[in-house]
Symmetry: C3
Subunit: 467 residues, 3 copies
């Protein structure tokens, strides 16, 4: 399933003809490279069940809050878009997208969706009210065929490794079944995401901890038992192929507490009795402990920082989380991470990959940190920043201080399964364009650029994520 | 009065020949579109009196703190530039500008002034000490002719709507007279700017409140009466054609207080007896109340946030406000606006337009907010950011998350009447250039770009500002 | 010693052919201009002793923490790189650089080093494991020849003025000897850097103060005597050719204290008895006092703000300061500098040059401050920002508000002597490219650009630094 079609071959390359020609050559070296997706939100269950997608709206709109949030911002009610408990007529949802499609112009979602429509469904015309039903029918017919089953797509997408994101107590049965089934040429890896067990302000934190301790057979209700339980579940993930842990935090604050203080905060957290200052300390100490465990067990540690989740309470209460109103905040890494990196930042076994949606930190904090600490890597531009101009800003901001080899390689972070090839293709094109400019400006040789573009897609993510 | 002259036709377009050609075509579609100016500081009185401008210095320098601040930064005393009570010899002021003109190179003011000199006065040579008197004479002669009277210029500028900025107790007599006179083809709209009545730290806040209550016939001195008085004046503005309110705040902090607390703070504010924390709460609650009133009466709400006014007290004491030393500060929207948007962010009747001089918030906060909340719009790049490179950075920062249709359309925000066409022309050229790049990069189709450039100049500001 | 070689002539110019041609012409006007280096860290002793450099590693790696930090970030131990007390085999250090050289691609250090290798040693091939010994030998042989002695290089680099950075109690004997020797065509100027005597948290602050008072013959241990001692040492620097003071601060906080409070804080500081709030106040007041002294004695005041020094304590304890782990933090200028500029910001005798590694402040704070206050200048992009893309971002961020003439001119800030020509050449090329774009976009005339490029390299640094 070749994404670019003839008139799309130059898509996303810089406008200068000389740069564009070099970008095109560089891109050709990686256009068909296998996809390494070391962080994302596609579920193992979807892949293991391997059932046909139900309809175009479910496939491309309803579960992609990147898309529903734009429609909501244009005045549509999320309920019209199939959010919440009452299903919406999928054809009607598709029509709403088509009617508003022209207002997506220039957005990252528009770029990905257009590529999916062209590259996967052969739909080249722009969506509009006039072709809503026709395009719906094309997609609906396509997804009924065997080559659109999730596992068939996995193959045609040329995915070599796909990481899911999972609760620490997840049985990982779908991962096991996929591995046992042997139908996928690539791997599906679990990722250990313990936020609900490390943030005292998480819903039902105390209940979660008791479930964790029960599940791991810990007898005591102590901080030591709690750490031991987490380590035990990390081992479980490792035996199921996991290579990384993921941590979503409002701020990347870290703290090194002595055992007595940690125990005291833990007991108070269990009782739901921590004030904000102590809750912050506890969270910060748990991030510190996660780094310590990574030093021991080798799991790569990714931190996604700086998003105020569920900003609009009425929407959260009506439709739940991940419904498009997670809004970034200014984020501080230099001081917040200091306790962690002072202790573990030179440990060869630790790979700490930092993601941000505050691009001011790229040149100011992340590149200088990754440009000194061997354990620190700069995560690919994330979420709102996973978009063409933002990706170029990212490279321009970090490369001069940290080069290419202390960045993580591309991460799609998507729950929209069909968008995976489009996202990786976009990233490859943009990195090719960035490198081509450096070549024409006499800043890297063409030979070096040819090596770097391959490394960005292959060696670098493999090394950073221990794939 | 056609601004661009032959050798200026490609001004401000990107350098790549292919992009430039498309930019030029896109620009041609809007080059002569009527000017919609939904926010600015030209006075209705100037238009209504329709008297000749007194001299070139008064016209182009003395009342434009964008220009006087640059001259001050180069070592000139503001008194030499006609600030303060003692008038300066206008020819001498003009000479000072000409002598220092080469040091304006690259500034936004230089771009606008040059366009004004070329397009309005036919002066193509760069200003310098050697042509100071000659250019003074050209302008001086021109402004004595009828076609340079404010109302004639209004027509030749092709202004369809021009908003002023007004005190809530302003009689709006000049607006009424202009409407009654019927000499303008376009509308002159008042804007309700209540800062002096909503910020307890404003000069003479208590006196202002009593004047407000008196003017609206309120009997009580209660918070309820105060709100009622504000609503009454908003209605007065609406009956005089007003479509928006404007709020200049150091931080866009908002708070939802219960009535008892609001009453308590109001009474303390009247007594001049609020500590900084409570003053902040009161200001934040008033921003919240203004949004509530907008939901009720439909006035568009614009917020201009993040400027430390009157940074240099000695200059403020000598020359008053708006004398060039308002300096931006880092600004936070995500947390500050949350109470307001949680309550009113999905109200169809509310249009909340957010302006910033902290460009870090474009991709991090404003685009994500406007990309979810239907009520939120991203204001055009404002003040120090209303300049070519900054405008391109703005579009590149917000479009990928929020598209074009959740931005406000251009706002000139000027008190320099003659700069209006140059500013709108600049904005149109830059948006055309931005879109042209997206076309060449295969990101939007040419057909889509042709629609968007027209929408940016016409449909979008009309819709956002309810014109 | 001509830096660019034939195939390098277009290095760092923008990619568009028309812009590039103009950039090349502009650059030609300044390519051979003498180097003015008004701030840096090359030592006067090195120049005065005029001894051959010991080996290639010492010359290009060991003392340049820009280079060693990148190697450390790639997993090398600093001890392998000749840091600390145990010397490393220089040939082995050089091999490590060569083996890891491909991972420097895209970094500022790679650009400079490559230019040095090409322009100074005639080494055109990229470094790699295969040519490590050969290149080592080439450099080793070269530096044994007379034309590579420090003073010979000073001449071939065409340095007209070079500022060092010095302790206030430095005897400046090497500066005096250089001047007396008369072997240099250019000047070597000391810079007064008093941080250890103005920051109560500095190592051995109390001891430093007593040494200062003793050295200047002050009898009392009072705040007045302390100020007098500082003034006396400033005079000493002035008599040795000094033109500026330099201040490295975590935040550019300033405070105007009354004498009694200043005395109280001073005495507490001497006793090591200041809490963090008072220590901050004292530091802020000393920055204020330094400005006051500059008004009196005319020394230019440069502030380098916003770096968390010695972020990784284990490395600091093992290898000392300046070992690659100084990490920037978000920096605030608008509020912090207000007390200082309210009092001294319009003093003709004060030149306050502000350097930052937080590029968000360029458009938001520094350009508006320099665009009003005659005393304030925007320092050239510093440290992590002294790199091609960052330099273009800098010019694009500040020029539209403050023009070119309120920036400082280039500052190399280097301790890598051989990098000086490469750094200045890089800056000249980038400014030429920036100006060329403005010309093609019709924003400045070619004639104006031709004047500006010369001013940036000559008149502006001379005026700002009173050279």
């Amino acid at each position: 399933m070749q994404l670019p079609v003839p008139d799309e071959t130059l898509r996303l390359f810089p406008v200068d003809p000389q740069v564009r020609a070099i970008a095109s050559d560089l891109y050709d070296r990686v256009a068909h490279a296998p996809i390494l997706s070391p962080h994302g939100h596609v579920s193992a269950e979807l892949l293991e069940r391997n059932e046909p997608f139900s309809n175009p709206a479910e496939l491309l709109i309803v579960h992609d809050h990147y898309v529903t949030r734009v429609l909501h911002s244009l005045g549509l009610d999320l309920a019209e878009l199939g959010q919440g408990d009452i299903p919406a007529d999928p054809r009607q949802v598709w029509r709403l997208l088509c009617e508003h499609w022209h207002k997506f112009a220039g957005t990252a979602s528009a770029y990905w969706l257009r590529q999916e429509l062209i590259g996967i469904f052969g739909i080249h015309d722009d969506l509009g009210a006039d072709n809503a039903d026709a395009t719906y029918d094309v997609i609906d017919a396509a997804i009924a065929t065997p080559k659109f089953l999730p596992q068939a797509l996995f193959k045609s997408f040329n995915i070599e490794a796909l990481a899911t994101t999972d609760d620490p107590l997840d049985s990982l049965e779908h991962h096991a079944a996929l591995r046992a089934g042997g139908n996928l040429r690539g791997r599906v890896l679990p990722t250990f995401r313990p936020d609900s067990y490390t943030d005292p302000d998480a819903d039902a934190f105390g209940v979660n901890i008791h479930r964790l301790l029960d599940a791991t057979g810990e007898q005591a209700t102590s901080f030591a038992a709690y750490l031991s339980a987490l380590q035990s579940r990390r081992q479980y993930f490792i035996t199921h192929g996991g290579v990384s842990t993921d941590h979503g935090v409002l701020e990347p604050f870290t703290a090194d507490l002595d055992p007595a203080q940690a125990e005291r905060l833990f007991q108070a957290a269990l009782r739901g009795d921590l004030d904000p200052t102590d809750a912050r300390l506890f969270r910060g100490h748990m991030l510190f402990q996660m780094a310590r465990m990574s030093v021991e067990d080798g799991l790569v540690m990714t931190v996604h920082a700086g998003v105020q989740r569920n900003h609009h309470r009425p929407t959260f209460e009506r439709f739940g989380p991940d419904t498009g109103h997670d809004i970034p905040v200014a984020t501080e890494f230099t001081r917040n991470l200091r306790p962690l990196v002072e202790r573990f930042g030179t440990e060869p076994n630790l790979h700490l990959v930092l993601f941000t949606v505050d691009e001011t930190t790229f040149s100011r904090e992340l590149a200088p940190l990754a440009g000194f600490y061997p354990s620190v890597y700069i995560g690919a531009p994330w979420w709102f920043l996973d978009a063409p101009d933002a990706i170029h800003r990212f490279r321009a901001s970090v490369t001069e201080t940290a080069g290419f080899y202390k960045t993580s390689g591309f991460i799609d972070d998507t729950r929209a399964y069909l968008s995976i090839p489009a996202r990786h293709d976009t990233s490859r094109r943009l990195d090719a364009g960035f490198l081509a400019r450096l070549v024409v400006e006499g800043r890297v040789t063409l030979a070096a650029a040819e090596q770097i573009i391959v490394a960005l897609v292959d060696a670098i993510p493999r090394a950073v994520f221990k794939l």
